[in-house]
Structures are given as structure tokens and as C-alpha cells.
């Protein structure tokens, strides 16, 4: 399979993620969109790594690290979201405007 297909797939995933971040109001959905973006990066890295063969091991290692860090980020992110839900019983980011200017 040509690498172009995989790059197009990953760029589409990335764009969907960016759209989700900008358009969604629910913090959990924004978190999911960011995960999409990170997975787009992983697809890129693994695709390149497969293309380069033995030279491209670093790409897979990079992807592993991204997966681990993303899990840590989701842990922290969900904890923050749950805190907010407990204090105000919704997680709509448009309503987070206690501080302005």
C-alpha cells in the first residue's frame, strides 16, 4: 500500500480532531477529539516507520511513548473534568467564563 493513503488518512483524522476541538462544547468530547489528533500522529509515525524498515525503529518507539503519555494525559484530563462536574454538574466549556480579561 502506498504511504500516501496512510498520510491522507492521518491528515483526515487530524483535521476531524481539530474540528472537534473547535466545535464541541462538552469537555469530554474535546478530550476525545484531541485523542484523535494524537492517533493521527501515531498513524503517521508507524506508517513512516514501516516504510523505512529496519532504519525506522525510532518511529515505533516514538509512537509507544505517545501512547503512554496520552494515557497519562487522559488520566489527568478526566480527573479535572470530574472535579468540574462535581462542582457545577455540567462540563460545558462555553460556560467556563468566571475569568475574563
Amino acid at each position: 500500500m502506498p504511504i500516501t493513503y496512510l498520510l491522507i488518512l492521518s491528515s483526515m483524522l487530524f483535521s476531524i480532531g481539530v474540528y472537534g476541538v473547535l466545535a464541541r462544547q462538552n469537555a469530554v468530547l474535546i478530550l476525545l477529539s484531541i485523542e484523535l489528533m494524537l492517533n493521527a500522529v501515531n498513524i503517521n509515525l508507524v506508517a513512516f516507520s514501516a516504510m523505512f524498515g529496519a532504519e525506522g525503529v525510532a518511529g515505533q518507539v516514538f509512537a509507544l511513548f505517545i501512547i503512554a503519555v496520552a494515557a497519562a494525559e487522559v488520566g489527568v484530563g478526566l480527573a479535572i473534568v470530574i472535579l468540574i462536574f462535581r462542582n457545577r454538574s455540567n462540563v460545558d466549556v462555553d460556560e467556563m467564563s468566571l475569568m475574563k480579561w
Binding site: 500522529v41 518511529g59 505517545i66
Partner: protein, 483 residues
């Protein structure tokens, strides 16, 4: 490939990581009223780290398959991070002990974030740069939301978290494209060689653009700054002090490493972007700072503007003119080091004032000189330094960037910088004037703890004592070359 790890080269990191683990374990077994002992423990660890850094002075070592480099540049910033850590400990001690929230966890997270700063100063590989920048950010998200029942703290944490994670994702996408374009390279030096002469390739421009945008979020450059003032205001104030110094300087160190080690050969492609970013950041930061009524928000916006001055140096890099590049590099180092000290000093004074008898509102600073002359004098010193006026070190910081801009014949940048310095002086000196020449509304004296006095006094002396050419900082900077 089976190269032994140079353990001496990574001692500072090892000591710091060990201290962090120790603090967490100790916290589990300490009784409730002994939790503050995490502070002396962390301080001892940081001093041990400083000793390890001193033992490496003058060395040049590369280990971990070329992904970790110890040289004057990385040692300078490791030392700076350790000193920032000590300052933040001093600011935090009473704030957290009286607040009774999650002391052990807070100090553990702070040490972890500092460790990220240590690693990024030595990273010479895309993967370790990424890991280090995440190690700086993730503990910072938690620290921001430490006041669990406070809606503002929650909101600050969520904003910071979403922007932080988004910026990492964007940065990573750029890194993955670079990895693919260079044929599987992650070592920064090799990437630089592979990219030589490729400055007009769209994919290179795009990926560098992505990476710069990712870092622009971290250092809160305009137009990616929205999270910063809200986060600083909502976070516990010592955390705000930490974010605006350690976290921001960490972002700049990452940017310095990437731009000077990985992408100097395509400098034509990204230099204009930095010029635009610098002009926007300085101007917008200063203009919004003019109308702030809360000291933390004032410091947040002034911090954004200060980032702008450092960004100027990135717009001066010229691969064909090594002298100018070196001057730009060194002025950035000096600026960051001085900025760290003066900003922490200002935050320490703000925290000290708000603790007993004051508040975070600038109106309440009226007549502070009559209520606590020492605090007023030192805060005035920090603000004058931030404004870049003599006799404080802030003047030299700005002067070096300004001279570098003139040397590179970037007159527009130099002029914008000069105008901004005047605008900035206006709002800094407005606070100073309020403290000295207006009558206080409340009369009770402002009490400041000895630890805070000591921290502020050390910062003041450091800022007064900086004279280019005859001190340790300039010596270290002289020896740091752009990779």
C-alpha cells in the same frame, strides 16, 4: 549501540528524580501537621542537584546514543531551574501549610515539572524533547487544579489542560512529518544536516510551522495566549509563579534547542514567522496589561509581553552570519535567566502582600510604603527591573536583545521593542507610584514571613549585582555556543 550510560552526566536528573520519589513516599507516612516537612526535604534535594550541576561545570558530555548532551547551555538552565525551584518552595511554604491542601503531592508535582525542565535542557532528540515537554506540562495541569473545591481553580486547570494537550498534539504532528521527511531521523543534529537546503519544501515549512505553533502555546505567545492569564489567576498564586517562570522558560529552552539544533539550516523559512509572533506578543501583551486591576493578571500579561522580547531573538537567527546568531542566542539566555529571577521576585511580593493585610487588587497597593517599607521597596525594585529601567538587571536583559537586533539590522524589530518598553514602563511605574505617593486606605501593617523576606532579598541582590562581563552568568553564557 550497547554504549554504557554516562551516569555522571545524568546525576542532576537522578538526584532530582530520587528526591521527587522520596517526597511522595515521605508524605504518605508523615502526620497531618508534619506534611510541610516536604519543603526542607525538597530544598535539600534541590541543593544536592545544584551540587551535581557544579560538579559537571565545564564538561561536555554526550550520552544515551546522542540524545542527551551536557554542556554550558544545559547546565546553565539546569541551575536556573533548580534556583527557581528553591524560590517557589519559599513562596509556597506558608501558602500551602495554612491552606492545608495536598502539600506532599504539590511538592512532588513541582519537582517532577522541574525534572522536565532539566531533561529538556539536555535533549537532543525529538522523542526526548517531547517527553520532557510533557513532563513539564502534565504535573503543571494538576498543580493548577489543586484547590479541588474552588471553581476558579477547576476552570483554570481545564483551560490550561485543553490548550496544553492541543498544543502537544499539533507539535507532535509537525514532529511526525519531520521524522518522515528526513527518512527516519529523530536526532536533532542529524535532522539539521538532512534539512540543509530544503528551506522551500512545503512539507518542511508546514512541519516547522506546526512545531512552532505548539511551542507558542506553551510560552503563551500571542495569538496563542488566551489560557495564560485565566490560568494564572485561577491557580494557587505560588503555582502561577511557577508556571510563569519554570514552565515558560522550559518552553523557551525547548524552542531554543529545536531552532538552533534541528532547524537552523532552514532558518529563512521560519524567521519571518518569529518576527510577526514577537511583534504581536510584545504589543498585545503590553496593551492589555495597561488595563489590568489584578496584580496576578498584570504579571500574566506583562509575562506575555516579556516572552515577546525573547521571541525577537529568534527572528534574528542568520545561518550565514554566525556572529549575529551567537549574539541572538546569548541575549536570549541572559534574558531568560534575568526574567526568571525578577518575575519570581514580583510574584513573591504579590503573594506576601495578599497573605496578610492585603489583596491581589492593584488599588489596595496604595501607600504600601507606609505600611511595609521593605516590601514596597523590593516590589518596586522587581517592577523597575521588569520595566527595564536602571539600576536593575532587567535593563541589561532588554539592552542585549536590543543590541542584537541592531547588529542583525532588524531595525523594525528594534523600534517596536523600544516603543513597547516605554508602554510597559507606564503600567509598572503606575504601581510603583501608587505604593509610594498615595495614601493607604487600610492602616494595619502588612506582615511578611522571614522566608519570603529572605527569598525577595536574595532576588533583589541578584538583580542589583548583575553587571555584564564580571559575573558568573555572563561567563556561562559566553561559553554556551549555539550547538
Amino acid at each position: 549501540m550497547n554504549s554504557p550510560i554516562d551516569l555522571h552526566a545524568i546525576t542532576p536528573e537522578l538526584v532530582l528524580a530520587g528526591t521527587a520519589c522520596l517526597v511522595l513516599i515521605a508524605d504518605l507516612f508523615l502526620p497531618e501537621d508534619g506534611k510541610w516537612l516536604a519543603v526542607p526535604l525538597s530544598a535539600a534535594g534541590l541543593i544536592g542537584t545544584l551540587a551535581a550541576i557544579v560538579s559537571l561545570l565545564g564538561e561536555h558530555r554526550i550520552t544515551l546514543d546522542g540524545s542527551f548532551e551536557v554542556n554550558s547551555f544545559s547546565l546553565l538552565f539546569k541551575g536556573l531551574f533548580a534556583i527557581i525551584g528553591l524560590f517557589v518552595l519559599a513562596i509556597s511554604l506558608d501558602h500551602f501549610r495554612d491552606g492545608k491542601y495536598y502539600q506532599g503531592e504539590y511538592y512532588f508535582l513541582m519537582l517532577c515539572s522541574l525534572l522536565g525542565g532539566f531533561v529538556i535542557a539536555s535533549s537532543r532528540d525529538l522523542i526526548s524533547v517531547f517527553i520532557a515537554i510533557e513532563l513539564i506540562s502534565i504535573p503543571a495541569f494538576v498543580m493548577t487544579g489543586l484547590r479541588k473545591r474552588d471553581s476558579r481553580s477547576n476552570e483554570a486547570a481545564l483551560k490550561f489542560f485543553l490548550f496544553g494537550v492541543l498544543s502537544s498534539a499539533v507539535m507532535l504532528y509537525g514532529m511526525s512529518l519531520i521524522y518522515g521527511f528526513t527518512g527516519g531521523l529523530t536526532n536533532l543534529g542529524e535532522i539539521s544536516t538532512a534539512l540543509a537546503g530544503k528551506a522551500d519544501e512545503p512539507i518542511v515549512i508546514l512541519s516547522v510551522f506546526f512545531i512552532v505553533v505548539g511551542f507558542a502555546f506553551k510560552i503563551s505567545a500571542v495569538p496563542f495566549h488566551f489560557w495564560a492569564p485565566d490560568t494564572y489567576e485561577g491557580a494557587p498564586s505560588p503555582v502561577a509563579a511557577f508556571l510563569s517562570t519554570s514552565s515558560k522558560i522550559g518552553g523557551f529552552v525547548g524552542l531554543l534547542v529545536l531552532m538552533y539544533a534541528a532547524f537552523p539550516s532552514v532558518a529563512e523559512a521560519w524567521r519571518p514567522a518569529f518576527a510577526a509572533l514577537a511583534i504581536l506578543t510584545m504589543t498585545v501583551g503590553n496593551l492589555i496589561a495597561l488595563r489590568q486591576r489584578n496584580i496576578i493578571r498584570l504579571l500574566a500579561y506583562s509575562g506575555i509581553a516579556q516572552s515577546g522580547y525573547v521571541l525577537v531573538t529568534f527572528a534574528l537567527i542568520d545561518p550565514n552570519n554566525l556572529d549575529v546568531t551567537r549574539q541572538a542566542f546569548q541575549s536570549a539566555l541572559i534574558y531568560l535567566a534575568i526574567y526568571g529571577v525578577m518575575d519570581l521576585g514580583a510574584f513573591a511580593a504579590a503573594v506576601a502582600f495578599a497573605r496578610k493585610g492585603g489583596s491581589y487588587f492593584i488599588d489596595d497597593y496604595s501607600g504600601l510604603f507606609q505600611r511595609n517599607p521593605a516590601l514596597a521597596l523590593m516590589l518596586a525594585g522587581f517592577l523597575i527591573s521588569l520595566a527595564g529601567a536602571p539600576p536593575m538587571a532587567g535593563m541589561w536583559a532588554k539592552l542585549f536583545v536590543f543590541l542584537a537586533a541592531l547588529e542583525a539590522q532588524s531595525y523594525i524589530l528594534a523600534i517596536v521593542m523600544g516603543i513597547n518598553a516605554v508602554v510597559a514602563a507606564w503600567y509598572y511605574l503606575a504601581v510603583v507610584k501608587r505604593m509610594f505617593f498615595e495614601q493607604p486606605e487600610a492602616q494595619e501593617p502588612v506582615e511578611v514571613t522571614n522566608v519570603l523576606y529572605a527569598a525577595m532579598a536574595v532576588a533583589t541582590v541578584a538583580l542589583l549585582a548583575f553587571l555584564p562581563g564580571i559575573n558568573f552568568l555572563t561567563e556561562m553564557v559566553e561559553r554556551s555556543t549555539p550547538f
